[in-house]
Symmetry: C2
Subunit: 352 residues, 2 copies
């Protein structure tokens, strides 16, 4: 088995880095594609459901794919500092890759709206963390302006290198299935990732590595569904903090991905997201963050509506690890029983 050295090394000819010496990697990518046999069986679903578990990237989310390319490109271009606005996952990835590259990193987060694990990461990786009195969209606006005025590389997904890196997840799915899936289901927040997957599938298709293309199924949270509703949402609300975005940067490319592929974009409620979140961990042993579960929630919703008439293979992208947001998991369960340290007490607790 050849040693694995990250997505730029693996997909070098498809990516915009010129010199391998500039690669900054934490060996991101190569994430597992796991068949959801238990969920299929329990719900009587005659689709093949696969889970692309992007939580198994080094910082715990798919953002590492884009960030290895964005930070490597920043280094190739002689930059020594990066900046981004983030609901959490982007900041963790930016901070980690900047640390590895020896660059400064500044991250802007919406005040009081970032999950515990993610804030911990940006702090741990040594980024300068600044909380903005406003939402993600407000934070993104000011980092865009700042990066025009100062020599600091913007690494939000409007940086095209991010999308380039993220498309490699589509490559991996095709390499593993030896074909494109029939459907690709994905949570939609800032809408960069759905655009990236579609770009990846199209590139593999035009290179004749795959013969067909998937239908792209995008899912927004009901309280943060600007694309579905066709309007900017001023105060997006959802438990799925990673997709709590009211004015997506990649709105138009996301719409194009859905319409070119003959797919759909729908919204799922927080209750539907939490149902899927619970199924993933309790039935498949896969702990994903709430936003990730939007992809499975959407597939279950479409299944119940009779959308998948001809069966087929659907890949649900699980964008981040459940450890990113431990509070949601703890709140969704009951607190542990407390017993004295005696086997009799344990026996009574378990066997009644």
């Amino acid at each position: 088995m050849k040693n694995y050295n990250g997505i730029i090394d693996r997909y070098f000819e498809h990516l915009p880095i010129k010199d391998r010496a500039n690669i900054i990697t934490l060996k991101e990518g190569n994430t597992p594609l796991i068949r959801a046999h238990n969920i299929e069986r329990q719900l009587g679903i005659t689709l093949e459901i696969y889970l692309k578990y992007e939580g198994m990237n080094p910082t715990g989310s798919f953002k590492d794919r884009g960030m290895t390319v964005a930070v490597s490109a920043a280094r190739e271009n002689g930059s020594s500092a990066v900046i981004c606005a983030s609901t959490g996952n982007t900041s963790a990835a930016a901070a980690a890759y900047a640390a590895r590259a020896g660059m400064r990193c500044v991250v802007l987060i919406p005040n009081n709206a970032v999950a515990t694990g993610k804030l911990a990461q940006a702090v741990a990786y040594g980024a300068r963390v600044i909380a903005v009195e406003g939402n993600f969209d407000a934070a993104l606006k000011i980092v865009r302006e700042l990066s025009k005025r100062h020599p600091i590389t913007l690494v939000n997904s409007i940086n095209p290198n991010r999308i380039e890196g993220q498309k490699t997840a589509a490559f991996e799915i095709c390499d593993e299935l030896l074909e494109a899936p029939d459907y690709l289901a994905i949570p939609v927040g800032n809408a960069g990732n759905i655009s990236a997957y579609w770009k990846g599938f199209k590139e593999y298709h035009s290179n004749k590595i795959i013969s067909g293309l998937p239908r792209m199924l995008g899912f927004q949270a009901a309280g943060a569904a600007p694309i579905v509703e066709g309007r900017i949402i001023e105060n997006p609300q959802t438990i799925a903090t990673a997709i709590r975005i009211g004015n997506p940067a990649s709105w138009h490319t996301a719409v194009a991905a859905v319409s070119e592929s003959g797919g759909v974009i729908h919204k799922v409620t927080d209750e539907e997201i939490l149902e899927a979140y619970s199924l993933l961990s309790k039935k498949e042993g896969i702990f994903a963050e709430p936003a990730s579960a939007a992809s499975l929630a959407g597939v279950l919703k479409l299944w119940r509506q009779g959308y998948f008439k001809h069966g087929g293979r659907v890949v649900c992208v699980l964008t981040g690890h459940g450890l990113k947001d431990p509070d949601t998991a703890i709140k969704s369960g009951s607190p542990p029983a407390v017993i004295p340290a005696e086997v009799g007490a344990l026996e009574r607790e378990i066997y009644g």
Copy 2:
């Protein structure tokens, strides 16, 4: 690239599972080995330091290696329930693999002594979590007794299948380096993992896959160092909760690994652990839980004492992901500055 299907599939002939149909996997293992160039450079160290980042297992720790084997074996033997005592990482792994296998899982944790992320995981994966008024050692004692009286499989590391699975990390290191490293540095808590690595190296050596063996360097936290001090510690104390164990189950095999290999077992203080923890994330972009950093802390301490006279390659095992314990990261940094959503305010904050 052949699809990767977890450690039992990869190392089948070295492991005690008879039928591949019984494999319960989340595609654990195959974790990155990352050179710590930045730390070497910053500290002027002339060793080659590699980090085996076990936090990139599905539940975020090395425990997944042992648990895939223990739960697959439980299934092969017709068991329908598993139980363990845990400081957190074992419970997360047991709960995840039991969920995947459709088995019941009971986990006992010491009351008020388990990191946030880990408790969240056991709850999320649907395990029955019971807190014991006592420490890890007390919890382990009563699950041992219970499993003798009832048909429930004990999956602590005294279950030999756990050690079998964990030894595969040694195989991976040798497969990647094409030889054993000169030194293997590892945190020591319940002492199963150091025993497992040593078993793995010895098996590869007797199979002539490697020609030499590493010296095993084990590190306990100063407040929880029973092996180093040669006595049971009644109330172990350390920030590194994953190795806060006063009476290790694998005490004797750990001592044997160190002495047979010509290695050492030492203790490191919480301050030394936190220094290494911070270097890992801020210099290498690798966020590990505090206990993990004991391996690097120990290597830095031995380096300063002149232990590594002849240089060489040392692999530091990083046992778990930093997201397991977000509170320690947040406490170790300063809280974010809060600014209004205006580019001028951001400019003043960054550029003064």
